[in-house]
Point group: C2
Chain length 180, copies 2
Amino acid sequence: MSIKMAILGILSWKSSTGYDLKKIIEESTAMYWSGNNNQIYKSLVQLLDEEFVTNEVQHQDSSPSKKIYTITNKGRAALKEWVLSPPDLPEFKKGFLTQLAWADQLAPKELEQLISAYENEISLQLAMQQEKQRRALFAPARTPREIMLWQMIDDNIVSSFNNELIWIQNLRKTLQGNEQ
Amino acid sequence: MSIKMAILGILSWKSSTGYDLKKIIEESTAMYWSGNNNQIYKSLVQLLDEEFVTNEVQHQDSSPSKKIYTITNKGRAALKEWVLSPPDLPEFKKGFLTQLAWADQLAPKELEQLISAYENEISLQLAMQQEKQRRALFAPARTPREIMLWQMIDDNIVSSFNNELIWIQNLRKTLQGNEQ
DNA sequence: GGTGTCATGTAAACAGTTACATGATTTT
DNA sequence: AAAATCATGTAACTGTTTACATGACACC
């Protein structure tokens, strides 16, 4: 899997510049990439090579000229093929679990602080995620089904953070129970 | 964060060779790295440079000689510092969500198949995870608290997959509801 | 005779991040 | 006067994966 298919997806929704793509990817949590320039501009060159997109330079006074990328039929076919391909497993990268694995060396209070620090970060992230969803800056809404799919994608992210929050609260309670 | 701290953690539990570390990391889901040679053997060289570990070559007849790595006091201090450091946010990389984002182009049956494919993979992964946990090949158990912590780490992984499974089943039901 | 385990390592490629660079305009 | 927005791109680095390479022994 690669960011190239994510870019093709966005372009299948609307023609965009690299700059637009960067903002959309940054804003999205479903598309988990950071949206850094290097990746985006390199991918666009590759997509041009593969003839999945075309571009058109638009000159503007009073701001830099921009390249508007548009998906081709070949690009649409490649996107559909990828959408239908067997999905990869989700990857959960939780550095915190590795910290916890070696946390038995800590004093009870230190461990409690570590857990609280994680809990706070997750709470914050959950709130930020829900706020992001409320604003819903970028979302195609071409059919009722598409609206529903995007809603479910947002729900997935929120439920992942929520699940993590419940787990960490449970861990804190279990620890308190054991110490008495 | 880095695999170096994960390695230091394992060495704080028991002195090991690169080969041992590889197997432990591969087996573990909390330590999410693939456990490939390149990373492990390079990390060990770096850890030696930093004086976080020492090694001792042990010659054996009838199998290749091995280097047994042992954590130093300096290494233990570095590990504790890292364990106490503010945890990073978990990263959820779900390529499937990006596929779903552009899945409105699919026919109802195609979409259903895509969802089923993901559901099956998650189910399978959940079962494998629980089986792994049942076997519990590698786990330090030096105090009741450590046993509890490792149990909670396993629970975290299982609950993440379980949460994903519930979500995808919910998505399938919502779709079926809308089509009638 | 082929496959698997033990054990170390390297090469090449791909993926991804941070920071740098430019330059005009608009907002605070 | 400083900071943000628009817009493109590059350089250097870190992280990660896949595959290759060697060699002895054990098991089927």
